[in-house]
Amino acid sequence: MTEALEKAPFFLARADAFITWAQKNSLWPFGSGLACCAIEMIATAAARFDIARFGMELFRASPRQADLFIVAGTVTNKMAPVIRRLWDQMPDPKWALAMGNCAINGGPFPTYSVLQGVDKIIPVDVYVAGCPPTPQGLIHGLMILQEKIARSHPTKEILNPDARIRR
């Protein structure tokens, strides 16, 4: 059946659009609030900036129910295994957003205990720069992530789960 489906690109494209529409409008963040950026993340979910308009106010506490890993703050070497484990516990499809300069490449801390960028341990989809980024910046990053999800092809992964496809 999968062979027959692969010969019907129009159907697959429609299915892609449908699935990505649902995925991008229902991103449930797993707020890994580590440091200062966590406060701005909470401010983004608060009344003035209101992430809930995009459907993202359900910050799940358990990684098993979340899709988006927002790494907000400095990742230290001691915390890195925990971050990796949480990322592994999240079910596919999942995305990661590195919020703040510390998560992007260590920020203002080139020291012995800080991991210089969370993309050394997890694959990051969107980088939001700032120290801390303003809530408007974070929302912009989330909207860019939504566009990225809209361009992805989940049907390829469903039909061929063994091939590692770059989204």
Binding site: G31, S32, G33, L34, A35, C36, A38, I39, E40, I42, A43, A46, A47, R48, F59, A61, G73, T74, T76, N77, K78, M79, A80, P81, V82, R84, R85, L86, D88, P108, F109, P110, T111, Y112, S113, V114, L115, I121, C131, P132, T134
Partner: protein, 567 residues
């Protein structure tokens, strides 16, 4: 001459009493810049500390600072100087004891005398390798247990060494070793890592479960890990594990100029960034002898009190959210947004503000900004009235906060608790009143005190402090003097050699900065005495005997910030 540095006769009295009692132990000492520093011999340390506590009344250890004299040790001197900052309440005498010790020697631990020195000694051991004999559980506090080396030593590179023990241990999906560890003794529940050397065991029955809260946990306000021993929901022991946000700030500061250090202090207590700026800047100005103009001092007071307002509003939201009243988080953050707007208009940043610089402030408060501040101040009480209507007399709220997390006044001072948590236990200790800085003595405000020291009292004390802050800001705006907004500070600030320990009343407690300069433009050593670090030590005392669900509420009421605990 900065305000708080006046030679007080009590300092000389204390020094004379000390030299009279320990003629051989005391090697040298003197009063400088309003601080008493005494050098004692290593062997006399324990008895000196006991004498100071029992007979001279120095109730708490503010901080333990270690200096690495690597050059001196090369020339035959001792490698480390360990400084003990002691404080006497109620007359606020400060005393700094200095002890020299080399790498192979061990010092007597101060913990039998001063309970609040527990974690400070662990930090000294972790960062420098100074051993303390008699400490109830000397192990690393920030760095992981398997880390080799001591980061704050002068011969340890800033970027770390490229060795395996420093790389993060990333467990892969197939790693069974963690599960194997956890299957070792099923009758004791899930075990913790075997490298955990802190004494964990007293008399453990079979019914107990070891629980681990965090480091990833929605309610621990950051990456704090709590290990709990629970017996049917009743908490027996609480051991916090720190270091998940240790960024090596103190080492970084030794490589930056004084002006470059100031923006980094924002990231310590990130909810109240301006108070960290103020704390460090005041210490440097005391050391460098910079006189800050009066207008700048008033503007600093306005900013600091606005920041206290914002910090308490954030705390209120977080604590209410933990106890389940989610809407209060939204309401308090809405009120906080107005204050953050003011900061953004003042100097461009909402959170990590950097609005206080060495010598003064960067911008002036012009008429429109003053008017906007006044408008915001009028709106805050209305927001608070809404929140108080929801919570103050609410039966569920009272049931979860009254009588929970008790700490008495004596215990609070013993543990070194400071800030609103201490004042909620009835101890009237507020640095703004007792050792005023930055013109606080010219303002008229009250210091709210609690009675029982439970969560409800801490809640009420902080709410009242918000009103007092509004009062102070109004007075400062009304009486804003004319003048310059900054002293003339050279572009590359070289501070003459010396050391100072300066404290301020941050929203979380007493924030202290110890700065030692060696005449260059970079500090020799900066040590921060973080209020949340010391306050967290009393968590176990407050949680014992309460239920597991209360731990979250008690932690919230303590108002800790991991950025400041882990530095």
């Amino acid at each position: 001459m900065p305000e708080s540095a006046a030679d007080r006769p009590e300092l000389r009295q204390a020094f004379d009493a000390l030299t009279g009692r320990f003629p051989d132990g005391v090697l040298s000492g003197g009063v400088e810049k309003g601080e008493l520093s005494v050098r004692v011999g290593k062997d006399a340390l324990a008895s000196v500390l006991a004498f100071l506590k029992d007979e001279q009344g120095f109730n708490a250890v503010d901080d333990i600072i270690v200096l690495d004299n690597i050059r001196a040790s090369g020339e035959g001197g001792k490698r480390f100087t360990v400084l003990y900052q002691l404080c006497r309440f109620p007359d606020f005498l400060r005393l700094r004891l200095a002890v020299d010790v080399c790498e192979t020697e061990a010092l007597d631990s101060a913990v039998p005398v001063y309970r609040s020195a527990d974690w400070a000694e662990r930090e000294a051991f972790d960062m420098f390798g100074v051993r303390f004999e008699g400490h109830p559980g000397l192990c690393r506090i920030y760095m992981p247990d398997e880390f080799e080396g001591h980061p704050l030593r002068k011969d340890f590179p800033l970027g770390g060494r490229d060795v395996a023990s420093e790389a993060p241990r990333i467990y892969s999906r197939e790693s069974d070793s963690l599960q194997a560890l956890e299957r070792q003794s099923p009758e004791r529940g899930i075990r913790h890592s075997p490298t955990d050397t802190h004494p964990w065991n007293s008399a453990k029955g079979i019914k107990e479960i070891d629980l681990n809260m965090g480091p990833q946990h929605p309610s621990t306000h950051g990456v704090l890990r709590l290990k709990l021993a629970v017996d049917n929901e009743v908490v027996l022991r609480v051991v916090p594990v720190l270091g998940y946000l240790h960024r090596g700030m103190e080492k970084l500061w030794e490589n930056l100029t004084y002006t470059q250090v100031v923006p980094l202090t924002d990231r310590l207590d990130y909810i109240a960034a301006l108070s960290n700026n103020l704390g460090f800047v005041l210490a440097v100005e005391t050391l460098a002898g910079i006189e800050v103009p009066r207008r700048a001092r008033y503007i600093r007071v306005v900013l600091a009190e606005l920041q206290r307002l914002a910090s308490h509003l954030a705390w209120l939201g977080f604590m209410a959210n933990d106890i389940g009243a989610m809407s209060v988080l939204l309401y308090s953050f809405e009120a906080r947004e107005h204050v953050l707007d003011l900061f953004e208009e003042y100097c461009g940043a909402r959170l990590t503000v950097h609005g206080i610089r060495i010598g003064g402030v960067p911008q002036d408060l012009d008429g429109t900004l003053v008017a906007r501040i006044r408008t915001v101040l009028e709106g805050i009480p209305k927001h608070l009235a809404d929140i108080r209507a929801l919570l103050d007399e609410n039966r569920i709220w009272k049931e979860r906060t009254v009588g929970v997390g008790l700490i008495g006044a004596g215990d609070a001072v013993e543990y070194g608790l400071t800030g609103p948590s201490l004042r909620a236990s009835g101890v009237p200790w507020d640095i703004r009143k007792d050792i005023p800085y930055s013109s606080y003595e010219e303002f008229d405000f009250d210091v709210p005190l609690g009675r029982n020291g439970d969560i409800y009292d801490r809640y009420i004390v902080r709410l009242e402090e918000i009103f007092q802050s509004i009062r102070i800001v109004r007075q400062a705006l009304d009486g804003l003097p004319e003048g310059a907004i900054s002293a003339k500070v050279p572009r590359v600030l070289k501070v003459p050699p010396g050391e100072v320990f300066h404290t301020i009343e941050a929203p979380k407690g007493v924030l202290g900065f110890y700065v030692k300069s060696n005449g260059t433009d970079k500090p020799e050593r900066v040590k921060m005495k973080s209020p949340s670090f010391i306050n967290l030590q009393s968590l176990e005392h407050m949680c014992k005997g309460n239920l597991f669900s209360d731990v979250v509420g008690i932690l919230g009421s303590l108002d800790i910030v991991l950025g400041e605990i882990d530095k």
